[in-house]
């Protein structure tokens, strides 16, 4: 469903991604791990279409379509969802109002009729239960005054309502205590299915105790330097990233 070929991207003229190749099949869960500054979040944001990142080479196909040609909202409507590392607050706009606008934009794009308030509420209640979301967060303004954990849960809740084909979780585990992490992970697990793929961006292995990935990739310096199964995450947990970084440094001639 997602094919990334030789993807290069820069920010303010600095190249961050230096040739990423990655394929994600239907229903697969891939984890991207790597040290700080390796380009993990950049990859997520480039896929979501944030305009401060400039793609300098490569291509990304999503269900056979050129993802990089699409505006961010069209990517979302096609089924790409990103759970933000730092979800922004939108004061005065209630979470339900926001989600209804989002869901109807997505439905319209897919040729489905827009939902009225009642239908929407039925869907919302059902999804809320699914991800153990608190009622009170529904009518509060989007993310305003939410705790870190509430924000992350709200992202998972949005995902549950919007039912994307590809969900990118950008360091969703950061800043969460163990209970919050468990709830978020359970939310993700119930949303796993044959028609939904995941790209988990994480620095730590601990998230992967709760969401078990099919594949793990290690990103160092803008490139995937190693791929493997879930056991690769454990190896990293044990050894850290330093040994991989050293390997990369030795393999790359100075000044290259």
């Amino acid at each position: 469903m997602l094919k990334i070929k030789n993807l290069h991207a820069s920010v303010d003229g600095n190249e961050i991604l230096r040739g990423i190749d990655l394929e994600i099949g239907n229903g697969e869960v891939h984890a991207i791990m790597g040290p700080n500054g390796s380009g993990k979040s950049t990859l997520a944001r480039v896929l979501a279409g944030e305009e401060s990142y400039e793609v300098t080479a490569g291509e990304v196909l999503f269900d056979g379509k050129d993802l990089l040609e699409m505006d961010p909202e069209d990517r979302a409507r096609e089924g790409v969802f990103m759970a933000f590392q730092y979800p922004v607050e939108i004061p005065g706009v209630s979470n339900t109002y926001f989600l209804k606008a989002a869901l109807n934009a997505v439905r319209k794009h897919r040729g489905l009729p827009e939902m009225d308030a009642l239908e929407f509420l039925t869907v919302v209640r059902q999804k809320m239960k699914l991800v153990q979301m608190d009622d009170s967060l529904l009518n509060r303004p989007v993310n305003e005054g939410f705790s870190g954990g509430e924000k992350k849960r709200n992202e998972i809740f949005h995902m549950a309502v919007l039912e994307p084909k590809l969900a990118i979780l950008d360091e969703t585990d950061s800043g969460l205590d163990i209970d919050a992490l468990r709830i978020v992970a359970e939310g993700v697990n119930v949303l796993r299915g044959a028609e939904r793929s995941f790209l988990l961006i994480t620095h730590y292995q601990r998230l992967l105790n709760y969401i078990v990935p099919d594949y793990v990739h290690v990103l160092v310096d803008g490139r995937i330097v190693r791929s493997g199964g879930k056991e690769l995450a454990l190896e990293l947990e044990e050894k850290g990233y330093a040994w991989l970084e050293q390997e990369v440094a030795q393999a790359t001639p100075v000044g290259a």
Binding site: A48, G49, E51, D71, P72, A76, F84, I90, G92, L162
Partner: protein
């Protein structure tokens, strides 16, 4: 990185003003210029009693001694007061319209185009309308039905004839004819406007509304509104305004006076959408308005809500004098400036009585080259024991060519007073827009959603129908504002 602002501002400025059409109607317009004869002429046209003419002349003579204020944070070339026509109106057929059937169909059509049907059967139930076309009130609806409850809702001219005792008692009691340059000018040359009296203990069963339309070229509009809520009465009043697109600036210098007696409540809401001028700042309305209410009796309440989206320049401070013990003043404002628009607006809360309370919530939105100033005064006089004020002034910037300014003046003479002031300035963040985009929401819808969220505290003070209108108006005005 491509900035959102450049392309936007261009689109934004090219945004068309929807209400800019001109009505072809036989006009009666006096030649430009102002002198005592013009004041007499206006008074004579309206067949006014001697006391009214005297009041106008006193105002005119006082005006000659005054200088145009230059302290507002707005910039415009000097106004040629001799170049303005002080009277314009649709030509009267005989005695003037007795019923809607006698109104020029062109005018009825105009109001229909503006979405304000004057035929009672077409009107939204629950809103009575007074329509002012240039200098003349052309129609007041539901007058008879309201009359049965003792409510007077008519044009100002009619009130001068039919209710002189009320007009003489209250005219100038809140905004004296000496008040300020523009209010004094208005006192001399005001043409028409609305008059409302709600008798003791009566709760007005429908929203009362005035719709102002400037049509004639080179004319000013100087209307005057006077609303009196007698003891225990309640009224909610709405005001809307538009004008055609013309290259010349047009002056709108109105005065609104509100009087709330013991236990009375007046809620006054404005949605102002005068023509703002073109992208280079050519044309547009100068909206220099004096609006003030007096909470005369104990436990009375006056609440101003305004949504200011139009005008080349807006200069107004709807204020409340809190005289009655335990009286309450409120001011809720949304002011949007884009293109070359300038707004200097805010409020004054003057606490005189004990335990008086006031709330100020101001939301300024600037886009394009718009300049938006909040100027507010809270004054707590010596006798105002236990007075309380809460002020909140928030500014939102869209793009990087616009400006937001806040000038709060606080004057507390009583040590028991409690004041709270909060202020914030934010930019519509690209991160907010991206977040919306990432959920499938298009940029324009995102901007409109974010701005409406920002204004929510004000919108919820508006009557239902108006709130919906205001949100749409804001959305239309913001179209193309972000990239």
């Amino acid at each position: 990185m491509e900035t959102t602002s450049t392309s936007t501002i261009e689109q934004f400025a090219s945004q068309e003003y929807k209400f800019g059409f001109i009505t072809e109607v036989e006009q009666e317009i006096v030649p430009p210029g102002l002198n005592e004869d013009v004041v007499r002429l206006i008074s004579a046209k309206k067949d006014e009693p001697e006391w009214m003419l005297e009041w106008r002349l006193k105002a005119y003579r006082h005006w000659l001694t005054m200088k145009e204020p230059r302290w507002p944070n707005v910039h415009y070339p000097p106004i040629d007061y001799q170049g303005i026509s002080y009277w314009a109106g649709p030509k009267k057929k005989g005695e003037g319209p007795k019923s809607l059937d006698e109104i020029d169909p062109e005018i009825l059509e105009t109001y229909k185009k503006l979405g304000i049907p004057l035929k009672e059967q077409e009107i939204l139930a629950g809103v009575a309308v007074d329509a002012v076309f240039d200098s003349v009130s052309v129609a007041t609806t539901f007058k008879e039905k309201l009359g049965e409850m003792g409510i007077i809702f008519c044009s100002f001219s009619e009130a001068v004839h039919n209710h002189p005792e009320l007009v003489r008692q209250y005219l100038g009691s809140v905004v004296p004819y000496t008040d300020n340059f523009f209010a004094t000018l208005n006192s001399a040359v005001f043409s028409d406007g609305s008059f409302v009296y709600i008798p003791k203990g009566v709760r007005c069963p429908m929203e009362l509304s005035t719709y102002f339309r400037i049509n004639a070229k080179n004319s000013g509009q100087f209307e005057r509104t006077l609303i009196i809520a007698d003891e225990g009465a309640y009224v909610s009043y709405l005001e809307g305004c538009t004008a055609p697109m013309r290259d010349e600036n047009q002056l709108h210098a109105a005065v609104v006076e509100l009087v709330a007696l013991e236990g009375a409540q007046i809620k006054y809401s404005t949605v102002q959408n005068w023509y703002p001028g073109d992208e280079n700042g050519k044309g547009g309305i100068y909206n220099f308005v004096t609006k003030r209410g007096k909470c005369d009796g104990a436990r009375s309440k006056i609440s101003w809500t305004q949504v200011e989206t139009g005008s080349a320049i807006t200069w107004k401070y709807p204020s409340v004098i809190l005289k009655g013990e335990g009286s309450i003043g409120e001011f809720y404002s949304v002011a949007l400036t884009k293109g070359r628009q300038q707004a200097d607006t805010g409020t004054k809360m003057i606490h005189i009585g004990k335990n008086t309370r006031s709330t100020i919530v101001s939301k300024g939105i600037s886009a394009g080259h718009g300049q938006n100033t909040y100027r507010g005064q809270v004054k707590i006089l010596k006798g105002a024991d236990g007075a309380r004020n809460f002020s909140q002034c928030d500014s939102m910037l869209i793009g990087d060519q616009c400006g937001a300014h806040t000038f709060p003046y606080i004057d507390v003479q009583n040590p028991t007073a409690r004041m709270e002031h909060e202020a914030s300035t934010s930019k519509i963040g690209e991160d907010q827009i991206f977040y919306c985009n990432q959920r499938g929401i298009a940029t324009e819808d995102a901007v409109s959603m974010i701005v409406n969220g920002f204004c929510k505290e004000v919108f919820r003070e508006l009557p239902m129908e108006f709130a919906v209108e205001a949100q749409k108006l804001l959305a239309v005005n913001l179209e193309g504002s972000v990239g």
